[in-house]
């Protein structure tokens, strides 16, 4: 559903918005490759989190708990930086299977 954008009378004065509004903007549809997290292999090193360009590694209480597919663009840095061997704790596969 398309939302009506506000006219100038209803916009706050000036070029200003509250912090973090981009959270509501979906970039997950940019993805052609999809990361999958394998909790059983994860060593909770948080390398994926610190290198994610899209703040899309969900961390709660210092623990990786999943991937934010609404925003993840599927760059694959998390999988590449994952140090777990021989099989990584995050693997990439085609999107939309």
């Amino acid at each position: 559903m398309k939302q009506e954008k506000p006219g100038w009378k209803n916009l706050p004065l000036g070029d200003v918005v509250q912090a973090g509004t981009a959270e509501s903007f979906e970039t997950g549809d940019w993805r052609s490759e999809r990361p999958t997290w394998h909790p059983d292999r994860c060593i909770q090193c948080l390398q994926c989190w610190i290198y994610c360009p899209d703040s899309s590694i969900i961390v709660k209480d210092s623990k990786m708990t999943g991937i934010d597919y609404k925003h993840c663009k599927g760059c694959g840095i998390c999988a590449k930086e994952c140090p777990v061997k021989p099989e990584k704790a995050i693997t990439m596969g085609p999107e939309g299977k």
Binding site: A22, V59, G76
Partner: protein, 311 residues
């Protein structure tokens, strides 16, 4: 230094939902630098990839206070922000410590913003300027900047039949900043988060003007697979194409690679240097290597010299 578990408890500076390329190094720089701050941060950004992609009205990806003014004036704009903060502090209207951070790409820092940067640093404003340096004007389509390295293919100094990309070597802005006699100057790269956040922490612990030059692999302009951003940053350091070092009150401290790899190891990871590997261009790679070696030796000498001076 804070470990990742500690960092992960801090305020996330950027939300997802920004429009940077998949695998972009700029937002990695922003997150790793800002997470290093224990105190609240206030950000100013120059016009550039980072700014346009994170603040498309009405969608702001910044969870911390953020101001964009224009292309060449992030440092001057921050001067004003910081000046007002100093006013508030002096008048007893605030006692909250804030770390002020200005971000600019290499175009907005090395080229059009150099005067503004130089002025702000000389005036001694208490903020950290971070150049996310991807070595060309990526936002407008990969035009050369004075940070573009020799031999790189850009759209305004392209590799062609008689020219092989940029003919001149890059400007050494880190050393120009050192010449400003700042309390802290650092060079870092995407791909070594511990080094980068430690340097940011260090910068935040020092009052006065700080400058950080962070090499930021750009998957669009350098042309590589998006997952390689951090890895290519690491090779830049390992080849000494981009030495990791810091200068605190004039004293150099270099993070030396275990084994200095040939610069070709770095060059071959990116399309922007592909033409250099064609037969006949061997001399250019040799020149680049010689340039890297010369700068590396000079850096080592500075470390030795300033260490002596410190004693």
């Amino acid at each position: 230094m804070a470990n990742l578990k500690e960092l992960s408890k801090r305020q996330e500076p950027l939300t997802g939902g920004h429009r940077l390329c998949p695998g972009c190094g700029a937002s990695i720089v922003v997150r790793q630098v800002l997470l290093a701050s224990k105190d609240p941060v206030v950000v100013v950004s120059a016009t550039g990839c980072l700014e346009v992609s994170t603040t498309i009205f009405p969608y702001a990806a910044w969870k911390v206070p953020f101001l964009h003014n224009a292309f060449e004036n992030a440092a001057a704009t921050m001067s004003g922000v910081e000046a007002y903060y100093q006013f508030l502090k002096r008048k007893g209207k605030t006692s909250q410590h804030i770390n002020f951070v200005a971000f600019g790409g290499d175009g907005g820092t090395y080229d059009i913003g150099l005067q503004s940067l130089s002025g702000a640093m000389e005036r001694g404003h208490d903020f950290t300027y971070v150049c996310y340096n991807n070595q060309a004007y990526m936002n407008t389509g990969i035009q050369r900047s004075s940070a573009t390295p020799k031999g790189a293919n850009t759209t305004t100094e392209p590799a062609g039949k008689v020219k092989q990309g940029k003919t001149m070597s890059r400007k050494d802005l880190t050393e120009i900043m050192v010449a400003h006699d700042l309390p802290y100057v650092a060079q870092a790269t995407v791909g070594n988060w511990a080094d980068l956040t430690r340097k940011a922490e260090k910068a935040f612990s020092i009052r006065g003007p700080k400058f950080m030059n962070v090499l930021q692999p750009c998957r669009l302009g350098w042309a590589y697979k998006p997952e390689d951003t951090a890895a290519i940053g690491r090779i830049a350091a390992e080849t000494c194409f981009w030495p990791l070092y810091e200068v605190e009150n004039g004293i150099y401290k270099i993070t030396k690679p275990r084994e200095k790899k040939p610069v070709a190891e770095f060059l071959k990871t990116q399309e922007r240097f592909r033409h250099l590997f064609k037969p006949g261009n061997e001399k250019i790679i040799e020149d680049i290597q010689a340039d890297v070696d010369r700068r590396w030796q000079a850096l080592l000498a500075k470390e030795e010299m300033t260490a002596k001076a410190a004693k």
